[in-house]
Structure formats: structure tokens, C-alpha cells
Symmetry: D2
Subunit: 265 residues, 4 copies
Amino acid sequence: MDLARKVVAHLTAKRLSVFLEPELAEGIKEQSLATPLRKMNPEMLITIGGDGTILRTCLGIRKPEPPILAVDIGVRGFLTEVKPNNALRAIDSCLQGRFKLEHCVKLASKVEGRMLPEALNEVLISPDAPVKLLYAKIWVDKTPVAQCVADAVMVASQVGSTGYSLTAGGPVLDPRMDAFVLTPICPLAVFHPMVFPASSTVTIEVSRPQKTFVVLDGQHREALETESPCLTIAKSEYQTTFIRFRQNFYRRLESRMLFYRGGRG
Amino acid sequence: MDLARKVVAHLTAKRLSVFLEPELAEGIKEQSLATPLRKMNPEMLITIGGDGTILRTCLGIRKPEPPILAVDIGVRGFLTEVKPNNALRAIDSCLQGRFKLEHCVKLASKVEGRMLPEALNEVLISPDAPVKLLYAKIWVDKTPVAQCVADAVMVASQVGSTGYSLTAGGPVLDPRMDAFVLTPICPLAVFHPMVFPASSTVTIEVSRPQKTFVVLDGQHREALETESPCLTIAKSEYQTTFIRFRQNFYRRLESRMLFYRGGRG
Amino acid sequence: MDLARKVVAHLTAKRLSVFLEPELAEGIKEQSLATPLRKMNPEMLITIGGDGTILRTCLGIRKPEPPILAVDIGVRGFLTEVKPNNALRAIDSCLQGRFKLEHCVKLASKVEGRMLPEALNEVLISPDAPVKLLYAKIWVDKTPVAQCVADAVMVASQVGSTGYSLTAGGPVLDPRMDAFVLTPICPLAVFHPMVFPASSTVTIEVSRPQKTFVVLDGQHREALETESPCLTIAKSEYQTTFIRFRQNFYRRLESRMLFYRGGRG
Amino acid sequence: MDLARKVVAHLTAKRLSVFLEPELAEGIKEQSLATPLRKMNPEMLITIGGDGTILRTCLGIRKPEPPILAVDIGVRGFLTEVKPNNALRAIDSCLQGRFKLEHCVKLASKVEGRMLPEALNEVLISPDAPVKLLYAKIWVDKTPVAQCVADAVMVASQVGSTGYSLTAGGPVLDPRMDAFVLTPICPLAVFHPMVFPASSTVTIEVSRPQKTFVVLDGQHREALETESPCLTIAKSEYQTTFIRFRQNFYRRLESRMLFYRGGRG
């Protein structure tokens, strides 16, 4: 909160327009700056929080997304870039153009003709309650790939490959990989994680149970109650873009891998 | 249904008293034989179905449990013993005393002073919704064992070691092992399955999230809504007893392992 | 042997020139057709055997490689295409131009300035004896990726992703993926399989032990006895090309996955 | 070396008899104290080194074994107890009887009628060279358990369950478990780690390849060159006994698990 106040003051002093997510605006008594996420159209977006904050923000914001400067508070994140005490300095670097952009592919998914919000990390499909098995057929483009009997199954992006997918046994995808991973959770029969080109469309046709959930980035849940729902997942036309000062995927991986799972919980 | 009718006729012809679970009694128009599971006190119990049927029956029946003759229909089960076309012959063998008994340790669990139904396969604790992390401290007797950050965590019995626990990476316990397995699902940090003597009490103290579920044998769910609930799991004083004609754990394991997960779904 | 004789007769009757690997020529008493693998320059190559036969042949043959028609005998292979009793018919289809070609990326590796034979499935580096740990630093292009402490570490091609790498926990790469997998065996610390673009160069610098082996496709072994040897692995300029009548990676995967590990043993 | 000298001086000053392993005696110029390990019969044994030192010592010493005070130098060990700067103090505590004893079951193995040295951590059987598959049949007592097709297979003791077995996917056995784990390395077909009572005899009958190695605690290797050799593993009548000041298996597990693999390399 304090940090949010400082950031607002810092930006206002530079005569920049500041928009605040309404709940935050309320929290720091800056209601006049409140703008719903859906209506913001900023040149740059600052998140203060962990990976969950980033993931929720990306699910909610207008497309195309502005670049994100992600300030870390509390918990160590994998997606975040800047420690709180470096936040103002990092903002100044941004304003002076001293930064790199990391572009991240997002996942566009569709159920019964309806588009879902776009996911940055992964799209998961699971029964509506714990300890139920999901029975599904999986296609990649027009090719049947596998029958899946498992707790759940997910498609993760390159960025998401270091998140939930990793804890379920999926591989790490190098940042240059334009690919998705299909990762089952506790499969009943042998079913290995599979890597596909990001130009593919993955189709998951659920045969059982009747009630399932699609969960996007561990943040957005949606119940599917039609008979044998069919979920398709493909590369989005939009990206999430992070402001980075050092581009160093493997160092982040090394230091944070053990502790991280993309914004969950 | 047909098989149930035949079994009833077969037993009645031998002047044995038959009690039917009310829904089944209704189904085969033998309402006069209907007795709620809780009120039955038979010398022997016949289940017709898969492992799920057995697990549900064991959760519901009065203790101590009578021996179970498990007839398999449709799907291949791990706990079942007899194919439908051998059912009547198997019943005759039982009546003539030609069978072995397989005694299976059960799991007695307690939450906030309240005993839960006894589980045959496993007791699982999980957040109330998919893709949330469970944070818990785990003790064995008075020894702190691990901090668990995972999708869920379970304690499985010897019998349950070939069920859900196996698909989450747990070991197979030899039938002579008087032991439990503690198995996490998709742990965030390194957390290996652990094997404890069945004389231990395992305590799982949840710190997050606020709403969790205890799931017994994939059949009985119970919401925990107190702050930081504490679940203890120990060996039950009761057992489940199966009627077996050949005692052959490893052959069953070999032929069914790939297809089985104890009565789920 | 019988099949080899039939194939020779079938081809000779069509007035085609036939060359035989010398040991086989000896075996079927056709010494006049014997030509060392290194000296053959055929338009098409027929292998009769399992995946091991194919892998050994590809390691030994002149580059660029001719297309391979792989006849399966005995054990079920993943790379083979034709059952023995369809062999002559398959040859006729080839001669009539009714086939597809499957092109497979190969791995070119270099140790201390010396090129090794090109591998189709994987390049593995391991201590010289069982139960010793390998300590190595791994780079991808110029980026340090990980410290590896494990039984061994391998780089597998797309084709090799369904071989040894899979049994060590690596993912399946879709046939359209132009990528490699880096897979450790029994890593001591957390080290997940990683997927890289096939345009990368992977460098493995061994720090311990002093004696290590590079093993190519489980067939060719080479002792490294220099201090801290450095192995680099990149995409070869050559490919292995298989003659296929139906292009169906996922059906082969489904039916053979459980039984296969690329030509080992 | 320095520490060894100090320990010798400390013990000699207390008029205790000191015996040194010959190589160490040479190293610190105390040749008069040199006694081969096989001939020592001390009341207490002090090891200075890592887990490898302990494992080698236990393989070589006369049975029954004296209690071991294990001083850690350099690398963090799982079996060691005392830091170098606490070594003299720890010795004094021992002499005053202020310590606990941790008794560890050992593995007695036999090949073709010949007993092998007893292993503390694990007995592994593997082909003679990397990347070859081992084909073996496995029995527990008289029960056939599984066909194993894998890189190698091991039987680990309770103590060994936190060593090599763990990195191959085996479970942790609680210190009170009187049990063994059978753990395959990179199995080709589905083959889960299995836990047996320590009263069992495990028999491994190798069918392929012709040359295999038995490796005890990663330290002692023995080539098997008979046709289809048969290895049996059972609980030894002897134990290894460690002097402990705090009995705290799970704290050691937590702090060292990521870095340790019992005396390998």
C-alpha cells in the first residue's frame, strides 16, 4: 500500500496520468484515480504483488496488453522483475527507455463456440471435485493423440512450462521455443507430457464426468455443464509483454524453481 | 441386475436369509428384502459392481464388517475377485468353507474431535477447488516430518498403495507390510512419498486455504471450514475382509495395474 | 536369414544391384555381394531387424544417407515400418514410388575438436562405471543453463524423445517439433528435462569423474579420458530418412510406447 | 589430516589404544599405529570424511561392527553426525557415555552360493556398460513379483532409502520401518518401486545381458559372468551402528535431501 502511494506520487510528480484498479484506489484513498481494469488503456502497467496479481491482471485487461512492470512484494515470484526498494528507480529506467521487452505467447481457448479469457500460463480442465477422474480424447490439429484418464489435463505455454505444468512432471521449455506442453495430472495409464508447435490447435473432448471446470492460470474458473464438452486451445493473437532489465531465464529458473508455482493459491 | 436376481434366487433356494441394499431391492423388485446398509448385520456380504461399489459399501456398513465376496461387472477391478459367470459357483465354495480370507487394514481419521467414516484405500485432503495449493504441516506421532505445499496430500493403506497413491508416484506396499504411505500430489517443493509403520498416527495441520475437503476412498467428501483444521489418521480397530480363492497379489498387480485406480470416478 | 535370401532374390530378379553388409553376406552365402557399410552408396537401404539394427546402420553408413526401408523381425520396434511377411510387397511399393519419406534430424557431436558419428536418437554422457555420479555444467549456446549432478545426462532428438529419454522422464516431442530434449538420469538435485530449439548448440562440460563415456544411440561408445572434457551437440547437416507407407506417429506411440526403448540392449 | 592428528593426540593423551587405517597412518606419519581394517577389533570407530568413507569402512570392517562416530569433512553427508570443530567434544561425550545408538539393518547378498560384502545402503545390479538394458525376473520369497526391463534395479535398506534409491524415484522409509525397497532405474515398462518386509528374501535372476555388475553401496563392484546369474538379498545378521547425539531423521532429511546421495561418486 505504502509502495503504491509512493509510486502514484512519483508518477504524478512527473505529470503522468495514473489509473488505479478500483480496489487499490479505495485502499490508498485515491478514489479519483480509480478506473476499472477493463476500461484502462495505459501505455504501461505496473503490478505490485506476486505472480497471482500479474496473472489476474492479464486475464482482466483490454487487448492488446500494455507492457507490464512487475514489482514483487512478499513472496518470491517467477514472473516478477523488480524488488520494492528498486521500484521507483525501475520506473525511471522505463521512462528513459532503458529496458528490454519479453514477449510471451498466450493461450486462446474456446468452449462450445465461446472464447474464454486468454491465459498466460496454462489452461486446465478438471472434474468439478477432487479425486474424480477425467476421461477425455485429445487431438492435435486433426490427429488423435491420446485417450486421457487422469485427475486433470492442462495445456501450458512456454512461460507456463515453469509453473503448474512443471510440478506435474512437464518439461521446461526454453524461452525461444514457440511451443505448448500437454501435461496430465496423475494419469491412470501411461501418458507422458507432450510438446507441440504453438501453431497447433489442441482439442480436448471430455467424455466423463458430466461436470467439469476449465481453470485459466489458476485464477479464472468456469463450469462446463454441457454433455461431452469440447475445449480447443490455440495460440492467441495477443501477447503479454514484460519489462525486463536483464533477460535471464535460466538464472530465474535456478533461483526460484523450487519455490514457485505460477500465481496459484 | 440379472445377476443380482440370480444370486437372490440361488441363496433363497438354500433357505438363507437375504438382505438387499434398498436401491438394488427396488431395481429388481424385491422390496421385501430391502434393508439399509447401516442396519444389515449379515454373515457374508456380496457386492456386484466395481471397486467403487466395494469402497462405498465399506464406508457405509456397520462395524465390524462381514467378509465380502466381490463380484466384478463391467470394468476390471483391483479389489474384485470373481467374474459374473463364476458368481454362483463362488458362492457355493463360500458356503462349503473353501476360501481364504484377506484382511485389510483400514484408516481411521479424525477432524476436530469427530471421527470420519473409515477408509479402505486412502484419506486425502485437498483445497475445495482445482488448481489451488494446499499448505500443511505434517507430523508422524510427535515428530514434525515435512511442510507440504502441493495440490493435495493423502495417506494410503497397504491396499490403497496400488490405487490413487500409485498414480501420484507412491510405491507399492507388499501385502505383508503393516504400513501407510504418505503421498503428495504435484508437490511444489521436493517432497517424496514416505512410508510409516501402521502403528503411527499421522497429523496433517492445514494452514491454507480456508476451505478444504477430506475425501475418503474417492467416495465420501467432507468440507472442513474451521480455521487451520487438523486431521489425524491412524490404523482403525476394524478391518475389511475379502473372500479370496487364490491369494495372488502380484498377479493381480501385473494384470491390472495399468488400468486401475481404486473406485474413482 | 531366410527373409534376407528372399529379398536378395526378389531384387536380383528385377535386375537391381544388391549390396550386402559383409557379415550378412557371409551368413546367407552371398559373399560376392558383400560390401562394407562405409563403402556402400545405394539408392535405398533395407534393414532387417529391430531398432538396434537401424541405429547401428545409421551410425555406420556414408552421408548423406539413402532412404531406409526398415523391416521388423522378432521384437516390436518403434522405428521399423514393415512386418516380414509384407516385406516384398513393401519393396514393390517403393520401386513404384508409392511411399512417403519421413525425414529425421540427427545429432552431430564434437569432443575436443573431434567429430563423433552422428546419432539418430540420443547422445549420452555418463561415468565409466555404474553408480557413479556425473558432475557437469551445461550451456545452451552461450547461456549457462544448469549444474548437473546425476547418473548421466543426454540430449535426445525428436525421434529419440520416444526412446531412452522417455524412460528417464523426458517428454514426447511432436514430429513437427524442430527441437532437442536435455534429459538427466536420476538427478541428485532438482533438474527437469528441458526442451531447446534444434538450432541451439548444447555444451556439456564434465568436471567429474575423470573417466567418462559418450554413448551414441546406445550403440557406439567412446571413452573420454582428458581432464574436464567438453562435449558439444548440435543439429547435423544430414538426416536419416525413413520410407513410410502411413505417416502415423501417435498410433505408433500408443501401440509401442510401453515396450520400446530405441535399439538398446 | 590435521584433524586426524588432533584426534590421535587427544585419544593417546587419555591412554586409549588407537589403530589407524594404514593409508591414513602413512599420511600422518603414525605408521606404528597402522592396522588393516580387516584386523581391527576396536570398541569404537571414528571415520573422518563423507558418506563414501563410512560406506567403504563398513564394507571392509570385521563383523560385528563397532559403533561409528562419523565426523564430516568437506561435503555435507547424510550419515555423518559431527562437524570437524566439534569432533573432540563429541569424542569426550562418547567416552562419558552421553550418546544414543542408531542401529541400521544391512543387506546380505549372495551370488551363486558366494556371500558378498554386506551393504548398508543398497545392492544394485546393472549391465556392465552404460545404456544397456537389464532383463531380470524378480521374486520375493517364493512369489514371482515382476519382470524387470530397466537400466538397473536395486534393493535399498531403510537407511539407503534416502540415498540412490530416492533419486531413482523410491520412497523414504521412516527409521522405524523394518523394510526394504526394490527400485528400478529408468524402467522400460511400468514398474513401480515396491516395499517389502525386511524378513523377505529378494531374488533377482538376470536373463540378459551376459555380463552384469553387482555394486554394493556404490563402492564395491563385482562382475558376474556366469550364464543367467541369480542374486539373492536378505537382511544381514549384523548391523551398522551410528553414535548419535540427537536422533533426528526428518531434520536431516529436510536439510540434506536435495544435496545428498549416499557416498556415491
